[in-house]
Amino acid sequence: MIDNMIPLRIGSVVKRFGGLTAVSGVSLDVGERACLGLLGPNGAGKSTLIRSIAGRVLPDSGTIRVFGQPAGSPAARAELGWVPQDLALYPLLTCRENLEAFGRYQGLRGKALSGGVAWCLEWAALADRANDTVKTLSGGMRRRLNMAAGLVHRPRIVLLDEPTVGVDPQSRNRIFEMVEELRAKGATIIYTTHYMEEAERLCDTIAIVDHGHVIAQGTKEDLVAQAFGGRSDVLMRFASTVQNAAAWAVERGGTLEDGAAHFAVEKPTDIGPLLDAAIRDGLEVIDVVLRRPNLESVFLQLTGRDLRQ
């Protein structure tokens, strides 16, 4: 595929802030109509990477190209719709006025502007609140308007930086529907989150980011297979009186997180020997769960840390 046909191509990008390396040699290609999830804990470097793509952060080295154009160039900006994590809106303007303002900043005029605004209001389910000021909207509505303000110029690539932070479950579902609608319309989406269920639901490929590195990349199934093969996750809880559970779990190749021992087993019948060992060693087991690993398990397996840490 020729370079200017690839929506997003990131090559060995490095960004340092003083002594902190926020992005460390990240390379990614994102194909047309793809939805790439950047999954990682807070401070992993996801937002810095997104801001670099949006042209708001200048990498120390590496290249970022948007349909073949350098990030930050006018041509690249026209193709991108960036939805920042912050509510970047004019609080004293109405929904319509906000959308018109950001549309004009993208160079829209006349019918292109009014059409873009009308589409955004419908897409964000805010048509009935079009003439209300932002400060009168609920948190979920503000989030939706924040998303719409980044898309009024109908970009081909959409950068969504943690769009569901601080919203209630109902509004979160509405936002998921909005993203799915975008996907259905053929947009290429880069979606950062530290909620694995969001990445699992919305993204077809996922890049796990930690300490500025992409430590794994692929579909959910690929990632699970890479980290666990055919193994399943066993979660074992003990009575609170157990003192040496951590050492016991580590001796058997597991870890102890939040008071529960985690083990990877090849087949479900491997639970039996673990239970026998616990009883033999005097540990009072109160709960045992067998589950296929998810992205959170993958992250824990790859980094030794919880996604929400």
Binding site: F17, R51, R56, P74, L80, F102
Partner: protein, 432 residues
């Protein structure tokens, strides 16, 4: 009971401690609390206390001698030596050029009209023959006092000081007049007595340069005339411009502060990720601020016209030129204040300090001609002074628009320079 009281005192102490801890970490509040009062105390002290300003402000007066008599020359000599006056018989010579000719009645009047000096004294021909007289209706030649009533104090000061100077500068004339009254009352002097007294009067020394307190005996007749023109509410244009510019600066500071709000909310990031460049954004903010300032000034002058009979409608072109230049300059100050500040609180503190300082020394709070000469010159570093001078030229002196060139050049040029500096500081927002 005592335990409860102790608890309450401890709670109050904790609240006080927290207050001081928070204040120590809030630089803006700290500056407003301590540095601002000291800064203002110093500024007002310098203006009114004379410190650094060369003592009591001196009144500038031009002196024209049409009489060219011994008496008139002695009077002029005393006026030149009078510490309360800055008296000039001719314009100041430019460096390396010969001394210009003495003022004539016409050139002195033109200089007062132009605002070079608030007053001029013209000693008419024949003054030396009858310089003074006691009581009203007496035979004497009046000195003409031409003044600019935009400075209402100067003319009164010159008139008072003139009476005082006469008392000390013309002792011979005083004695001669006294003898005439004495002769009239006593029935006459012998020729020897008259000759002896005349000889004593002629031997009177030149008066000392420093004299006692000013008198108001009205020994000299004064023909006082306002040469700038009969105007209603002469000070309205001054206050509209002075107060207007001060509040415009606060408005421009608030408008510029929206940049900081947008930076804090993330909207600035989003705007700069679109096709809007930093220069375009700053220019847009400045245009908004300048238009707002123009609207405010227009409203103030319209109010002045409606309520205080300010003659706005015969000065529309000059008003437009000065309002455009002033609004541009004020908006650039707002941009600069926002771009050098890192937080809204910091911007609030810096703006209050700078705007009040500029307004105090620039003449927005009280006319600069009340200030010592040094402070008047320092005031020229503020845009308030240039704006007020420009509006005064338009509304008070009826000067043609071309004469506004210095004020417009300084305001527009200064505005451009401040905008460029603001743009330089705004680079920190462009990229991380």
């Amino acid at each position: 009971m005592i335990g409860n009281l102790t608890n309450t005192i401890e709670m109050i102490a904790a609240i006080v401690g927290n207050g001081f801890r928070a204040l120590r970490r809030d630089r803006g509040a700290l500056i407003l609390s301590f540095i601002l009062p000291i800064a203002f105390f110093s500024i007002f002290g310098t203006i009114f206390g004379g410190r650094g300003g060369g003592g009591t402000p001196r009144v500038s007066v031009l002196v024209v001698d049409q009489d060219r008599s011994t008496v008139s020359q002695r009077l002029i000599q005393s006026l030149l030596q009078e510490p309360s006056l800055d008296a000039y018989t001719h314009p100041e010579a430019k460096k390396g050029e010969p001394v210009p000719p003495d003022y004539t009645a016409a050139s002195a009047e033109a200089a007062v009209k132009h605002g070079d000096s608030p007053a001029a004294l013209i000693i008419p021909k024949g003054f030396g023959e009858h310089p003074i007289a006691f009581g009203p209706g007496a035979d004497r030649t009046p000195i003409r006092l031409l003044h600019d009533s935009s400075d209402p104090v100067a003319a009164q000061m010159v008139a008072g000081i003139l009476q005082k100077v006469v008392m000390t500068a013309l002792p011979g004339a005083m004695a001669k007049l006294g003898m005439q009254y004495f002769e009239k009352a006593s029935g006459g002097l012998t020729p020897q007595q008259r000759e002896s007294i005349a000889s004593a009067i002629s031997r009177q020394p030149t008066p000392p340069s420093q004299t006692g307190p000013p008198g108001d005996t009205q020994l000299i007749a004064l023909d006082v005339r306002d040469v700038v023109g009969e105007k209603h509410n002469s000070m309205i244009a001054f206050y509209a411009a002075g107060i207007g510019v001060m509040f415009l600066l606060f408005t421009a500071s608030a408008a510029g502060g929206s940049l900081l709000d947008e930076a804090e909310s993330g909207a600035l990031d989003r705007i700069l990720s679109s096709r809007v460049s930093m220069t375009t954004l700053l220019a847009g903010k400045m245009a908004y601020s300048a238009l707002l300032a123009s609207a405010q000034l227009t409203l103030m002058f319209l109010w002045g016209a409606a309520v205080f009979h300010l003659d706005l409608f015969t000065h529309v072109p000059g008003f437009i030129v000065m309002t455009a230049a002033t609004s541009f300059a004020v908006a650039s100050v707002g941009m600069l204040l926002a771009s050098v500040s890192h937080t809204r609180a910091q911007q609030g503190a810096i703006s209050t300090l700078i705007i009040l300082t500029m307004s105090a020394i620039g003449g927005s709070m009280f006319p600069r001609y009340f200030m010592p000469e040094t402070m008047q010159k320092v005031g020229l570093l503020t845009l308030n002074a240039w704006a007020i001078d420009g509006y005064t030229k338009v509304f008070w002196r009826d000067e043609p628009i071309l004469n506004l060139a210095p004020q417009v050049a300084v305001l527009v040029g200064g505005g451009i320079v401040l905008f460029l500096i603001a743009r330089r500081f705004a680079r920190r927002w462009e990229y991380s």
